[in-house]
């Protein structure tokens, strides 16, 4: 990968397209704003400036470091949820310790991503986190997000002490029904309904979240004007204008914190893996759609470098976002200028209109999180997985293990099952006996040998078969143990091997001399090469 092309290789913008790029940038900035605040406060349990800085600096860094037109990082719901799940058992949310641990977690994740960048085979490993595994996890996290936002939706204080479990989520749902603040529930419901209804119109789909937030905020303002904040008790988002450009910060690495830091390492691995996986998957999808091919390693490069820098300026970790990239693609982005300008627009918005952002009520944010969480559960994907039993098992296992063993457990559990399935498939080659021909289609290796051997044994001891022909034309891999077995089989006088790809059987029959054969082979090869050229 060439760093120079990554940083300086700008796709030439079309003539007169500058206005369009800036418009896309403004749209992106407005769309990402409520998401950034909601992800950092409701999901990650961090102050709102974490999400905003990620939406500003994360987007800027990743857009500058990646040559793709539509690619950019930014705050991500899944990653924010992972932060919340990992840090809940370690420290009370929103406290100074929590922030310190969060920064440490982000830095660790960034360093792990750097390792993925430096060691090439590790980057290849990402392909082994198969789609059902990732989808299972993402659906699990979507459910987590919906449940997690119930208390905030109902204006209740968010529980900050114990790790999240399905049962506790159910308890908090019951609590919402019984003791929730009805004013907050009204605001949340209005936001939710406006968002849901607007999403149904294609033209408004990308603006739905923004319109929902606006509706919820207007209702809460009206409510506060009529009853007063003391009566409604609806929490509002913090004023972000005072935070300014950058809030410099240092990750926590003290001796007392070491046991806790060690305990969050699995979380850091999950964060790094999930971030990279989403980036790589999003880039793959965008490559297919846009016709531009950008190596996924550019994405890993941009993510890893940004995530190592972002903890020092109080920002959430960044990774690609499917919905924002689709939005850019749909709006026909011509260059990276759109992403860069979106970061700058957001910076201006936060700096000059911070006090307007501050009046957004927390229940409206929670409603947005619910919509985002529900979006992560993609029924068409789930239906596709359930058409194939092994995939369905892998999907369900990783979905359930998010709730049973946590996110790291889900990665391990799902990946192991996916690998086991791949191995299992390979261990069952298609072996058939037709008359005296034993055909093997698949792999000959230590795992599949028992299956092959049983049929071979039956055929070789059959008295009706005088000559057993073993056809391994469709074998694509033989391991040393397979070779030893073949050598053993070759000693049996009854057995003849054929491999139709090499033409070995035909040659044995024809009386052609070796030099002639060599010449003809070369001719055929040349002809084939000409055809491909």
């Amino acid at each position: 990968m060439n760093v120079k092309t990554a940083v300086f290789g700008w796709a030439p913008p079309r003539v007169g397209a500058l206005g369009n790029e800036l418009l896309i940038g403004l749209t992106l900035a407005i769309v990402v704003l409520p998401q950034a605040i909601a992800f950092s406060t409701t999901l990650a349990g961090l102050p709102s400036y974490f999400g905003l800085y990620c939406a500003i600096w994360g987007v800027l860094f990743t857009a500058l470091l990646n040559p793709s037109r539509v690619f950019h990082g930014g705050p991500n719901s899944t990653l924010s949820a992972v932060v919340g799940v990992t840090l809940l058992p370690v420290a009370p949310q929103f406290g100074p310790d929590y922030i310190g641990y969060a920064l440490t977690l982000f830095l660790l994740a960034g360093l792990i991503q750097l390792v993925f960048l430096a060691v090439r085979p590790l980057g290849r490993m990402l392909d082994f986190v198969s789609e059902p595994v990732a989808n299972g996890m993402i659906c699990g996290i979507g459910l987590y997000m919906i449940f997690k936002s119930f208390p905030a939706f109902a204006g209740l204080p968010i529980n900050t002490q114990v790790e999240w479990r399905l049962w506790i989520a159910w308890q908090s749902f019951l609590a919402v029904l019984e003791i929730g603040n009805l004013h907050a529930i009204h605001i949340g419901l209005i936001t939710l309904l406006v968002t849901l209804v607007t999403r149904q119109f294609t033209a408004l789909r990308n603006w739905a979240i923004l319109l929902g937030i606006v509706a919820g905020t207007l209702y809460s303002e009206w409510l506060n004007a009529r009853l007063g904040l003391a009566a409604t008790l609806v929490e509002q988002t913090a004023n972000v204008s005072a935070a300014g450009f950058v809030y410099p910060s240092v990750p926590l690495f003290t001796q007392e914190a070491m046991p806790d830091i060690i305990s969050i390492i699995p979380g850091a691995v999950t964060l790094a893996l999930l971030g990279l996986f989403q980036t790589v998957a999003a880039m793959r999808r965008m490559n297919r759609r846009s016709g531009q091919f950008v190596d996924a390693r550019h994405g890993i490069f941009a993510d890893a470098l940004s995530n190592c820098v972002l903890p020092f300026i109080s920002a959430l970790p960044t990774c690609a976002s499917f919905n924002r990239m689709s939005l850019m693609h749909a709006m026909n982005t011509g260059s990276r200028l759109a992403a860069v300008s979106s970061a700058l627009f957001l910076l201006a918005l936060v700096s000059f209109f911070g006090e307007f952002i501050a009046i957004i009520p927390v229940p409206a944010m929670a409603a947005i999180i619910m919509v985002v969480g529900a979006n992560m559960i993609d029924w068409s994907d789930i239906r596709a997985h359930f058409q194939h039993r092994p995939e369905a098992i892998v999907f369900s296992a990783s979905f359930l293990s998010v709730h049973l063993f946590g996110l790291f457990g889900a990665v391990i559990c799902g990946s192991l099952l996916a690998l086991a399935y791949a191995k299992w498939e390979k261990a069952h080659p298609n072996v058939s006996l037709e008359h005296n021909v034993l055909r093997i289609r698949g792999n000959i290796y230590y795992g599949s040998l028992p299956v092959i051997e049983s049929l071979y044994h039956r055929a070789s001891t059959d008295a009706h078969i005088d000559e057993l022909v073993v056809d391994f034309s469709a074998v694509h891999h033989i391991d040393p143990e397979g070779i030893r077995w073949l050598a053993e089989v070759g000693k049996n006088g009854k057995v003849r091997f054929i491999d139709r790809r090499s033409g070995l059987d035909r040659r044995a029959a024809s009386g052609e001399s070796p030099p002639d054969r060599k010449r003809r082979d070369r001719k055929r090869r040349d002809r084939r090469r000409r055809r491909t050229l």
């Binding site: 058992p89 002490q161 479990r165 506790i168 308890q171 609590a175 009805l182 849901l196």
Partner: protein, 365 residues
């Protein structure tokens, strides 16, 4: 049948979603109304609570004068009084402390509609640790040292956790009680359960005339073991012997507690109904709170008969008895602990009866 346009499917789905949301909203409104109705109704007090609250002169009114403070100091300390609603909250809080499981109250479905939901097992009550319904007093009416008094806990809430250095609000500290000590589920911090118990603790502090920022011996139990938190001399075997000698007659030889007619006489200190491993893993609990509690309050009726070293040994032994895993430890640990708790007691019993065939070994419950 006529095929509908594809837009219809979308509309149906959206309608269904909105319908479910509105149904949930209607359910929430109904539940809110029910809760408001219940909170309006008079509270049926347990006998212990009725006695205690009368003694402290709890009544609705513009002012409140504590009979306790008046009797001790001779001066009427006039405070702002309690409204009808406050009084009901305090009464409910007292009921929750007296019997968390709702076994004594007149109408458990109504009084405890918000309490039992958060408790696992059937033996725990707040009163087992916070003795005397949160305020244990000696024969001459003085609050007993080290009885984990809720009144003192309330005024000392912000200096509670001196070992971890974390300042826990009283409400969060209570949530830990539900999660660990009653091995239960986590209530929301704004739940009525928490608010009622807080109201009761606050009332006790006012009635006993305790002040913020002062350390009180009835809550503090750390002086028993403050000098020896290293646990150097703690002896498990000696603790076991002491447990069988002093504690087993109430708590059972295996610490499973004593239950008569479904009512808990003596709480379990081990087994499925005891506090969970999460509290044991809390260093300050094992090194300080448990030995301190034992020294101040055990054995019942002979308080103070154990030496500090005895208390530490017994606490060391008790804290290592099998008990349920907490939510934090995960489902596998929970499963393993459950298995151990079900399998080990009968095994130990059979081995003991095989070693000493003459003796009859109690089953512990």
């Amino acid at each position: 049948m006529k095929r509908r346009a594809p837009g219809w499917r979308k509309a149906t789905r959206l309608g269904l979603l909105v319908g479910v949301l509105l149904a949930l909203y209607a359910l929430a409104v109904a539940k809110h109304d029910e809760r408001a109705r219940i909170r309006e109704q008079p509270v049926a007090l347990t006998p212990g609570c009725a006695d205690k609250l009368t003694r402290y002169g709890l009544a609705a009114g513009a002012t409140y004068v504590s009979p306790y403070a008046l009797a001790r100091t001779g001066r009427a300390n006039v405070r702002r009084g309690y409204s009808e609603e406050d009084v009901r909250a305090i009464q409910r809080g007292c009921n929750i402390i007296d019997d968390l499981q709702g076994q004594l109250a007149a109408d458990p479905a109504r009084e405890r509609w918000n309490a039992t939901r958060f408790v696992r097992g059937t033996h725990t009550s707040c009163d087992h640790c916070h003795q005397g319904i949160g305020d244990k007093q000696t024969a001459d009416g003085v609050p007993q040292t080290g009885s984990l008094s809720l009144a003192a806990s309330w005024v000392m809430a912000d200096m509670y956790d001196q070992f971890t250095g974390i300042l826990l609000p009283y409400e969060l500290r209570q949530m830990q009680c539900y999660i660990n000590s009653s091995n239960g589920f986590k209530p929301n911090i704004a739940d009525d359960l928490i608010r009622d118990v807080t109201a009761y603790s606050r009332f006790l502090a006012a009635a006993l005339d305790l002040r913020f920022g002062v350390r009180y011996p009835e809550q503090g139990i750390d002086e028993v073991t403050a000098s020896s938190t290293l646990k150097r001399g703690d002896d498990y075997v000696r603790g076991g012997a002491l447990f069988r000698e002093k504690c087993a007659r109430c708590h059972g030889p295996q610490g499973l507690g004593t239950v008569v007619d479904g009512k808990v006489r003596f709480p379990a200190v081990a087994g499925p109904n005891a506090f969970n491993l999460q509290s044991r893993n809390n260093f300050s609990f094992v090194s300080t709170i448990l030995p301190g509690f034992i020294c101040r309050n055990m054995p019942l009726g002979e308080e103070g008969s154990l030496s500090n070293q005895d208390c530490r040994d017994v606490a060391f032994y008790v804290s290592n008895l099998p008990r349920p895993a907490g939510d934090k430890q995960g489902p596998l640990a929970a499963l393993w602990q459950q298995l151990m708790m079900r399998v080990m007691p009968p095994l130990i019993r059979s081995i003991e009866s095989w070693q000493r065939p003459g003796e009859t070994v109690g089953n512990g419950t």
